[in-house]
Symmetry: D2
Subunit: 357 residues, 4 copies
């Protein structure tokens, strides 16, 4: 739901209005569900973006863009080849990609009794700072569980795959936002869903303001961090998380146009201070729920329409705004998390009032 209820909101320059929920689920047919594991040193989970059950039979035009490929995402090879999406999306921790893939594969096979081949899409971020990731607590069955829980109204922040995320030294996780636009007298929507686990604290920016060092000072004092702690903690850690960005819309677009939209996500990320660190895998998937392609050979041609390229700038700017707000929303909604080896990621809520903008 973005950051519209937060004290951060007023700093956000907005050119477009948000959709009804200010969530990616403002696009009809998209729901999100979480399975969260939060006990002691286990702070992890799995999040599913459920497209409708016909996603395999009516594929959606899609494209991906790898900003920094230091990551383990599975399924992009086929999206890149065919320019289409035939699977729900699953997010989880880095070492659970196999289980999540297999669980999603099983769900897709159940939904499509005749299919002999499906292309599950699994995205990951590494929650090894807050979660004892080597204990491999994610199971194949959690994918079904998350899909069953999927709803158009869903939680953001440190839930699901977002549970153990650290973004700019703060508790991060799932964030979402959406933007609306009228084209040819019809209202269309574009939304972003992000899983934020990237960025150094010193680089943090809010709507352009460089607040990272201030924030760092506040946290060091407040948490009574000793020099020893700060030097071994997230506060000086490398940028080695990852950030996943999903962009969805209901505007008729070609895969080629979606690829160009995916290329703009980085501008939104950089507004809060991402520097695309070596160890931070940033990936983008963009898809449209319009112009779906029916599986099978019945029709020789698909009829459809695509946006005039002259209007792409509007979509690019909607994407940038959605991603920027979604990142802030992931922070705003994330509670403070303490986990593996006592590591802690503070909540921005607890500090934002103390900052001078």
């Amino acid at each position: 739901m973005g950051i519209q209820n937060s004290t951060l909101y007023k700093y956000l320059g907005k050119e477009f209005k948000s959709g009804r929920r200010n969530l990616i689920s403002d696009i009809a047919g998209i729901k999100v569900g979480h399975v969260t594991l939060a006990e002691g040193e286990i702070q992890t989970g799995l999040t599913a973006v459920q497209l409708d059950r016909d996603i395999f039979r009516y594929k959606m035009p899609a494209a991906c863009h790898v900003i920094n490929g230091f990551g383990k995402t599975a399924g992009l090879v086929q999206v890149e080849e065919l320019g289409s999406l035939e699977s729900h999306l699953v997010f989880t921790n880095t070492l659970a990609v196999g289980r999540a893939w297999q669980g999603l594969c099983r769900c897709l096979l159940e939904e499509n009794p005749a299919a002999r081949s499906v292309n599950p899409l699994v995205f990951e971020c590494n929650d090894g700072h807050l979660n004892n990731i080597r204990r491999l607590m994610i199971s194949e069955d959690m994918v079904r569980e998350a899909l069953n829980k999927a709803d158009a109204d869903f939680l953001e922040g440190a839930v699901g795959a977002g549970r153990g995320m650290v973004c700019h030294g703060l508790s991060g996780g799932i964030g979402s936002a959406s933007r609306q636009v009228e084209i040819a007298e019809k209202e269309y929507c574009l939304g972003a869903l992000v899983l934020t686990n990237h960025g150094r604290i010193g680089d943090f920016m809010l709507a352009g303001r460089k607040l990272g060092r201030q924030l760092y000072q506040e946290i060091v004092e407040s948490e009574k961090l000793t020099a020893a702690l700060t030097s071994t903690s997230i506060y000086n850690m490398r940028e080695e998380g990852s950030c996943i960005v999903i962009l969805a819309c209901d505007i008729p677009l070609s895969s080629w146009q979606l690829k160009r939209i995916a290329h703009r996500a980085i501008v939104g990320l950089s507004q809060s201070g991402s520097k695309l660190g070596h160890g931070s895998g940033e990936l983008v998937l963009a898809f449209s729920t319009a112009n779906r392609e029916r599986q099978g050979e019945e029709e020789s041609f698909h009829e459809g329409k695509t946006l005039n390229n002259c209007h792409m700038d509007t979509l690019f700017r909607m994407a940038v705004e959605s991603v920027e707000e979604a990142v802030l929303s992931s922070l705003w909604h994330a509670e403070s998390v303490t986990g593996f080896q006592g590591n802690k990621a503070p909540a921005i809520r607890d500090y934002v009032e103390r900052l001078s903008f």
Copy 2:
């Protein structure tokens, strides 16, 4: 016109029938014109593929694929970004790319008085073996001349940009072929135009038959080449030419699908023995004359249809066959050329009868 009138024809396995001319100009709106310079050490030229005069205002969906990028082709960056073609195509020698670009730019500006930006597409192969390429004999004005000469019936072989080409040790150059198919009760056409300057003689294959060594022996004997000559001549030269492949069709396709078709050209090339040598720049451009996109902002959406992906195999195979025959056609039509420093490229016609298949 392919090799249908040649003794090579019977060895060609064909799954599809050829278009009327068996040339890329079987696709309506495509014409080809040459300017040839053939005197002494100057054996070079320029070839233009003329699309209709509206190409800038009604752009065509297009995609390129760089098989081996050791080349100087100009204009692909924008094709790759936008997935569209807004320019005629020009082919010339490696060191004339600038002149050809500028000449094509001037033609496009004349045709479009309001345009402030155009994207000329210039492809090149290096004819420095037969042509004193450093004399820079190509001028900007030759582009207009070649466009003016463009016709649906055009010569193949050692003409235009093809004048100084050496392919598998033989005289190469411009080649073309086309294939037809019926989809949903309508006849469609896909054609190839190639500029062949690649391959070692020892690797030459005809429809799968490895004839290179035989051919080499025949040429060495016939031309009375001494050991000294063969060691310093094209007969042991590296694969450092280049091969340009243009694939055009009138089938409604997306740029994404055209990119996948462009990826198949290499299969056609390899049928005559290309090994993708280090120094041989192989590039492919594929475009469709259907689904043109009108320049400007009048319309918010373009209506159109695109082929069902299930039928892509048909187009892939038409592309492979067209490229295979176009390469052979470039050889079949090329006369023997003697040029710079007395270097000579023999014609396959003079040797093919002596080969045992």
Copy 3:
């Protein structure tokens, strides 16, 4: 071991001599192990390429090339980003990618007690014609089992992941070959390992000879296939398998050079008739066991040498030859397999003598 003991061998044009075993394991440190499931409708398996146990700590320069991305391979995003390989390789069926990924992940974690992130590489082909693939018979533990069985001497053909493969209508699977070359007075080796599940029977070529239709006739007669059978069987099936190609060498190369080598695999594939069908996912991974990069920050710079680009042609041609022979070797070693729904893939051995070349 290639096809050196087969009747096919004499048709193979060879420019380079094979390594001692004529297997990818001629490169020191590479071993291959299989787990094969072959009972009734279950005809599947898993194959592991074991690099040494230090692969995570001493990464190898690597690059990939997606010829046709209609496939589910996992792990390439990071290889593409970093240009390095930190994992053994696993091959299995399309619907087992998740289990294989997770099993390989667990093995890598065991071998590297401090690692919090590893990048398992899993390749797949679809064996759904001969195997009841939806029964999901592959387990995570089979990865450890295959790695334990890994040996420099290993079986080819319908074993491991190769069990249920169909290549050009024949029983395919695992194939391998290698080539040697002397550079600067030192012997180097480049080898290929392929998993072949691609191609139509009608397109089959042996060393350039188009034998597909002949082979098809022989098989139809011999197997007493009725018209009904042939129309529903592999004999007219689409090209929808896949082919995985691994290229390894011990020559000091940069990742950039390895990427260019990976681009040449398609030439080898096309020699036996691959047409890169729509549904056939072709992927290549190339790596070198020289110039390994030590994990960690101890050293600011890595010292190393890389091959002069002028000599790349030699490696390109070794790669083409190795791939061509490896594909034939997969066929030559594959026994006839009958599995799911009584589907059968005949062995080329049973037919090759009847063909006239």
Copy 4:
């Protein structure tokens, strides 16, 4: 020389210190020269980055990244293939690419009497707002002139190719900055050169502060712009310029690593408000003057060292900082320019004091 003498400087967060000149020429062997045409409706020019005369014989490792490929840059195909740079760099206006290419080609041929093939690199931005670009005033000979004028001390702002540039509604053009770092007890330098012609005025940011709307108001009032003017002028124009970024360093890096550095330029661009508009072609070239590769076959292997990947973050951040400052430097040094059809691009110097940060 960056913005160190400007009132903007204090807002710039710097992690690294600048090189001696704070110019790309802090890297030994790099010089820059301009030819400027500034009279009436002709406001254009050409800028050359001169590498040493041995650039063809001792190639530099290089890589490019196309952020948005709506542009006409020539020469990148070969850089992408070989990962090396063999040419000086030339920048000019969009419709002069051919002349600049040909002029650079001639210079390279003169410097290398034996070369039959060279790969000139020409970058462009469209100056059609301030310059009557269709008059094609750039000639081939201007490349030699610009190279002759090249110096380590060079002007920034509205000079050379930068003459007619408009960046965020302001006069833009050539900008440069550099950063230093010590690795293994040796000082290294990384510098950026940009040609800025991108961005909307409303999006302008200075070190994170969103000053665009304020700036717009000041300019409208100051220039007494009427509503009619602002609606037809650059103040509401689309983002359709382009921005070229060159990153050079003297740190031993592989082409693969340089590609990853090139990917980070966008973060620097976005700090001043670039939104990667549809019509704005953003391209990056990164190269290193270390690890040069000698042309020819004398050596089988090149010895060299490359930076440990663990230290890449340092270079990424140097690149981001250099690009951010170089963009501001292009604005800071650009004088107000009035040209074609009376169009004007104001200088930021005339407005910056009035802005409240």
